[in-house]
Amino acid sequence: MQQYLFLIPVLPLAGFLLLALAGKTMSKRAIAFTGTGSVCVAALIAILLCTDYLSGNSGNAVYIQSLWQWFQTAELAVGLTLRVDALSLVFIFIITFVGALIHVFASAYMRADRDYARFFACMNLFVASMLVLVMADNLVLLYLGWEGVGMCSYLLIGFWYETAANCRAANKAFIITRIGDTALIIGIFLLFRELGSLQIPAILDQAPQRFSSGSGAITTIALLLLAGGMGKSAQVPLQTWLPDAMAGPTPVSALIHAATMVTAGVYLIARMHTIFLLSPLAMTVTAAIGSITLIVAGCSAMVQTDIKRILAYSTISQIGYMFLALGVGAWSAAIFHFFTHAFFKALLFLAAGVVIEYLHHEQDIFRMGGLKKQLPLVYYCFLAGAGSLAAVPLISAGFYSKDAILWYAYSAAGGNAIFWIAGLVGAFITAFYSARLVVVVFWGDRKTPVGSPPGRTMTIPLVILAFLSITAGFIEWPHNLLNVHLFSEWLGTVLPATSLRGGHPPEFILQIVAVVITLSGICTGYYLYFRNTAVLAQWKSSRFPAAAREFFFSGWKFDALYNHLVVRPFLFLTGINKRDVFDRLSDGIVTFSKQFNRSLSFSQNGSLRWYVAGVLIGILFIITIQLIL
């Protein structure tokens, strides 16, 4: 299998090249075949790789394939080397498999778009970049993928570039993630200065010998890497770009802004776990940022009315859970939540896309409703996704991953009661807005005229994802229920096991609390939005809840804050510095050449006698010079 490793990123890349160069001349069928086929074949190879990994040598199996030397200087040699271990395999599987399903869905969803080829070219390039990111053997190659996915995200958010708001959203996403990217590259530079190597295995090997635990250097590096992850993964305070990123087509939101790219930060931290383990401060900061984010974004998701923005805030909140898990040292729980989240959030986005398309591009959930009868299949798929998001006990994948995170938030070595309570509040909020989504969108009366129902190309990916949203959790059970820990065993070769602290209550009690909280969240949503909507109407009219709703609706006023703190002062400075010294320099060249031209133009007056006089003066000048010298 090892020699076929390169095919996984190269196939989507080839698809991109073909579509980018020849897309204009291809028929829609050929475009869909190329764009979808390349990712599907990559997914097949990835699945073969997984089975090979499982069956063959299940020990410390690491696939390495060195393609060629990228560049080499005196101290630094960077190779295009792919390195796949258990952690990378999880990501590769999700990227190619969920990516392939979303591509299939998009081939039907985007059919009417006139830039069909450009869409698939960008999507394929994204898949290729993301695969490079997770397969990279060194940090430079990882950074290449990191920037590649950022660029594709930019291109696809601004896919419908004729609307100015979409371009602004794309710019916002690019600029805000750039803050994180800059921190990341500085972190990489520092790592190279300290360790003299950028090979990820070498860094992980040498770091414990080179740094003492909690030293300033390692904390700085860990915090810079964390900042990079926060930018890409939309964590507070760099989260404001993700809700606006919903301006892109819905399959883009599903693939890039829910399932894969936004979890690049989670991958980075899990990949560099040794660095983080050496810095307790950075771990605590990671967990704190995760728990703040999951509550901040959850509160915003509760009051949004645009279905895609609800899902966007929910994504931020769920990634907050992953960061919380990483911060308390529950590595495999974080990756497990990434695994289940990819299925159910991609499902929710795709189902939302179907609903939006079915209602003629209506995104306001309060203008939807009554779709349960019209779209029963989509309804049940959405129900599976929402149930998984809300973490309905035992029958949803989300329950297993979220339960693990909540358990470790309290009982892991880095955990404490505050993180646990934050996670519980988040669980309540998540259950509440999941119930709200289902009730408002699918129940009640129909409010908007409907279009034609979705075709089979769109529903089959939904069904597969719905099936996985229910069953994907069964591979990892809580310790006290069933002794099935396939996922953490799978990751055990790469990530250290989570160490527990002493003096925690039995797991059973915490689980009961979490289940009760989740169910009460669902019931609250059901009660407020279906049984007794009068309560809500009463809240809307009274002052304090209305103000709170407005505050949450605007995303905790982060946008306004940044507008006042950064954007306005910057625009003011550029305004007063409009004619700076460099402008004057270039202006000076223009003025000089204009003046010079005018004086030369004066001598060209068309009078023959002037020219003769000019020739005479020239001759006299030359003769005089000859005589003098």
Binding site: Q604, N605, G606, L608, R609, V612, A613, L616
Partner: protein
């Protein structure tokens, strides 16, 4: 016949040349400017002949023959141009012919 000193002849040539030059610069009619150019050519030829006689070399007179031939060719081309100018503009005043000035 009294031998003429070379310097005297050169002075005459210089006077002739200056006359021609002043003619080119001050005349407005193209035909007179052409005549003045012929005078300047002859001044140059006279200077060659004087120099040749001073150093007892035939080169001076050879050069004069060349100048004569060149002058004849030049006049034929120039007169053809003058005819065309007159044909198109109905004037031979150079001050009126300023088509090529830069605006």
């Amino acid at each position: 016949m009294m031998p003429v000193h070379a310097n005297t002849v050169l002075i005459v040539a210089a006077v002739l040349f200056l006359l021609g030059l002043v003619g080119v610069l001050t005349r407005k009619n193209i035909l007179f400017m052409l005549l003045s150019i012929e005078i300047m050519l002859n001044a140059a030829g006279l200077a060659f002949v004087a120099a040749g006689s001073k150093w007892q070399q035939p080169d001076g007179q050879v050069m004069f023959l060349f100048i004569l031939a060149m002058a004849a060719a030049e006049v034929s081309v120039a007169l053809a141009l003058v005819l065309q100018i007159y044909h198109q503009y109905k004037t031979l005043d150079v001050d009126a012919l300023k088509e090529l000035r830069d605006k």
